[in-house]
């Protein structure tokens, strides 16, 4: 009975979504205030019903209700409670429910935090969110209902994919989805603005915090996913250019471009039609990612449920949402007024350059991801675009991005005096050049130019931003001066600095781990010692242990360097009871400057094992960099500017032109 209730609330949510899509929109054209105002309560109602659905599905997992097909496929009585909960979104149907729930949560957030927005705008934005929601709820109810039942109920469930039984993966999909879905807000704002023909600075200012929050979620989600792949897949890699990974990376790239482009539109009123296009693209790529993952048109190591029937539905949905919004764009964009003029050497130009690079890189990733499909469809033969191609494209675009970052953050809007910033950046440039050349010395890298390039660029990004901070604080005294600046409206500036320093940290990590990482695949008997990058790994043999829903062989290693004990590592090879797939649990001794990583391969008889030993220098810096980027984003959205503008426009509620925001930097 209770699962039927979940099904029922899902249907109710769909009804509300349809109402939310239609009524406020019509109201916004007929100027019926009550119809427009209904959008907020409708968003709340939809959210409440979807939350009930999600709670009921969770309850079914916790109570092992195997009469629900989805629970029977992914749940199990022996599954620890944490994974029973994460199993709710561990497979297709449930992850869609989570998607829909989050979309509703974002709508509620708009309803709650939009008191300073014109009602007309709010109602159109929520109406667009409602339309997106209709698509997802229909998709669920028609092709992938998580509450479908089966009789008789099986005694035991099929269990969550062991690969997903991990604390990191319990929170990775929700974060990622929050990011994907969050771009729907920027999308809805863009569409609403196109409908009303009101694309101005205030539109950009309203969209900015939402976009940044979504971007933060996506960033953290990707970082967590990469970290998970690193320790769980047991291959020591942290990024595989897998279609599923690309599906999250493309919206991230475009989202990054969008954040920067919105800044230009807000401050200078320029790039309006480009910004709108980015807002549409970021969300479109999120939807496309869903299509690629769910439809099975591409093969992937992630290989979730693939079903052409569902693919047809999502494709139709894509056609309506993306096609429809691009059609609206074609119709409306020619009437968007141009923004303020700017010189060739100005912050606008540099930001446009970075935008184009990000967009080109995203297009290349899209091309690489779809290439097998395109080749196949054109009957040109079958190809696979592998790791090397993506890496080459990465090396082709990102160095220019890093170069532009250093200049862009320092230059002025509208017109930058080249001689001035040459003077400012001279020191940073020389330091970076020296640092890059120094890292080419035989003791470090023996002339590996990639190391020189990476280290030089990282130093460039870091030093140019530090010069920037120094200049800003020139007339302020010491830490107190910085703190005052930070508190009084400098948060978005320091957020930007922190995020960009995160990029520098990321570059260091990726450069060092790619060029100095060592890996050995060895055969060892108990008592054997293997050396890798100066570390001695002593193998002490393997014992059998048992977990709640698996048995495991657990190896034991003592690691020492120069005779001193460094760590004891205990990698496992698990065999899960239900899905009898072997899982490698790598053991990692982590450190800021290096990870030592051991994973068990196969038993080779007589107590011998095949093993993989890795030395991963500075690998943590990759995720640390991503984390700093996310932190920078959080800092930026908490800027006083957004709060003051809210207070200010609250006084002049619902006027067409909100007062221009105080400019922070």
């Amino acid at each position: 009975m209770i699962p039927e209730l979940g099904h029922f609330t899902l249907i109710l949510a769909l009804c509300l979504a349809i109402t939310q899509a239609v009524v406020p929109l019509v109201g916004s054209y007929t100027r019926t205030i009550s119809w427009m105002a209904a959008s907020r309560s409708l968003a709340w109602g939809q959210f409440v019903f979807l939350a009930i659905s999600l709670a009921i599905l969770t309850y079914a997992f916790l109570g092992n209700d195997f009469s629900v097909i989805y629970v029977a496929q992914n749940g199990n009585t022996k599954l620890p409670d944490l994974y029973k909960i994460s199993a709710v979104w561990g497979a297709h149907e449930g992850s869609l429910l989570l998607w829909a729930c989050m979309l509703a949560a974002w709508s509620v957030a708009i309803a709650a935090f939009s008191r300073n927005l014109p009602l007309e705008m709010v109602s159109r934005v929520l109406s667009v969110m409602g339309m997106v929601s209709i698509g997802f709820l229909l998709f669920m109810l028609l092709t992938s209902n998580p509450f479908d039942r089966t009789f008789p109920a099986p005694f035991e469930g099929g269990e969550l994919n062991p690969m997903l039984q991990d604390p990191g993966l319990a929170i990775h999909p929700p974060l990622l989805y929050m990011g994907y879905v969050g771009f729907s807000v920027a999308f809805a704002f863009a569409i609403a603005a196109l409908m009303g023909g009101r694309l101005d600075g205030s539109w950009a200012r309203w969209s900015r915090p939402w976009t940044t929050i979504a971007w933060v979620f996506l960033t953290l989600g990707i970082v967590l996913g990469s970290w998970w792949a690193y320790y769980e897949l047991g291959w020591g890699g942290w990024w595989f250019w897998d279609p599923v990974e690309n599906a999250s990376f493309m919206p991230w790239l475009i989202g990054t471009a969008l954040m920067h482009s919105l800044a230009v539109t807000e401050k200078r009123g320029a790039f309006k039609s480009w910004t709108v296009l980015l807002a549409i693209s970021a969300f479109s790529l999120s939807l496309l990612g869903t299509f690629l993952v769910r439809s099975g048109v591409l093969t992937s190591v992630h290989s979730f449920a693939a079903d052409p029937e569902r693919g047809v539905f999502i494709l139709m949905f894509l056609l309506v949402v993306i096609g429809g919004s691009l059609l609206l764009y074609t119709w409306r964009a020619p009437y968007i007024s141009g923004g303020g003029r700017f010189d060739l050497v100005s912050r606008e130009t540099f930001l446009l350059g970075n935008n184009l690079l990000l967009a080109v890189f995203a297009a290349l990733v899209l091309l690489g991801t779809l290439a097998p499909l395109i080749y196949d469809a054109l009957e040109l033969g079958k190809i696979s675009v592998g790791f090397p191609w993506f890496n080459r494209m990465f090396l082709l675009t990102t160095p220019f991005l890093a170069l532009l970052m250093g200049v862009g953050a320092l230059s002025h809007w509208k017109h930058a005096e080249p001689s001035l910033f040459v003077k400012q950046l001279r020191v940073a440039f020389i330091i970076s050049l020296l640092f890059g050349l120094l890292s080419l010395l035989p003791v470090f890298s023996a002339g590996n130019w990639l190391v020189g390039l990476g280290m030089g660029l990282a130093m460039w990004v870091a030093s140019s931003h530090l010069v920037n901070v120094r200049d800003r604080l020139k007339n302020k005294r010491g830490f107190a001066g910085f703190w005052l600046d930070f508190k009084t409206g400098g948060r978005s500036y320091y957020g930007m600095i922190l995020a960009h320093l995160g990029v520098a940290v990321f570059i260091v990590g990726i450069t060092l781990v790619s060029n100095f990482g060592r890996e050995e695949d060895v055969r060892m008997s108990p008592g054997d010692v293997s050396e890798i990058a100066g570390y001695n790994f002593t193998f002490e043999g393997v014992t059998q242990v048992s977990g709640p829903n698996y048995n495991a062989s657990r190896g034991r290693f003592q690691v020492s360097k120069d005779g001193e004990h460094v760590a004891t590592l205990e990698p496992e090879k698990r065999a899960y009871f239900v899905k009898t797939m072997p899982m490698t649990e790598a053991a990692i001794d982590w450190g800021l400057t290096r990870d030592l990583y051991v994973s068990l391969g196969e038993p080779l008889g007589g107590g011998d094992w095949s093993l993989r030993l890795y030395y991963k220098p500075y690998v943590r810096w990759i995720w640390l960099g991503g984390f700093l980027m996310g932190l920078g984003g959080i800092l930026a959205v908490t800027d006083r500017r957004y709060r003051t503008s809210r207070m200010r426009s609250a006084k002049t509620a619902d006027t067409a032109n909100a007062a221009p925001a105080v400019s922070g930097g």
Binding site: L298, L326, P334, K382, S610
Partner: protein, 179 residues
């Protein structure tokens, strides 16, 4: 009118992508019915991974039932599949011929040294020419070939023990019986 044209570029790009996606739905990338099923392995003459001087020709492989496995060290799924291949070759149920695809000889050799070598012969297809003739979609891919050199089955993606026992093994036994 021209202004509309300029702003409709994104729409056209999307239309093209959507057309490909629609076409893609009709194709199943995992079990592409290879046009080569029922036909002979395309002719080739390539060196082995172990030795650039030793040339293997397609005729050299006649006379036995074998699995032709396309692999590469840059391919993540191949790594996952490798344990299964080593296990299979030890079981003696079937011989496996490797086609090392667009790879680096040193990397391939150290991979085999470290992870074990399940292959009776390992062909080195640096340029990927033979892989194209075979219609390889992506690594790993596995073909079942009979003693006359005719392809009977193709699997894209890593092979599992389940797939081997349920699909491949009955076909292999059948082919061996027929000689």
């Amino acid at each position: 009118m021209n202004q509309y044209l300029r702003y409709s570029i994104p729409l056209f790009v999307f239309a093209v992508i959507a057309a490909f996606l629609y076409k893609g739905l009709g194709m199943n990338p995992r079990e592409i019915p290879s046009p080569l099923i029922g036909k002979s392995v395309p002719e080739f003459s390539l060196p082995t991974v172990e030795d650039a001087e030793t040339i293997v020709k397609s005729d050299n492989l006649l006379g036995k039932v074998y699995l032709l496995n396309v692999w590469a060290t840059w391919c993540v799924s191949c790594r996952a599949e490798h344990q299964t291949l080593v296990h299979l070759s030890r079981s003696g149920k079937v011989e496996i011929v490797g086609l090392n695809w667009k790879d680096d000889r040193d990397k391939a050799l150290s991979w085999l040294n470290r992870l074990g070598d399940p292959y009776v012969i390992n062909i080195f297809d640096k340029k990927g020419r033979t892989a194209i003739d075979l219609g390889v979609y992506g690594a790993p891919e596995t073909f079942l070939v009979d003693s006359k050199g005719v392809i009977h089955y193709k699997h894209a993606g890593p092979i599992s023990m389940e797939l081997f026992n349920e699909t491949l093994l009955p076909m292999i036994e059948d082919l061996k019986r027929k000689g």
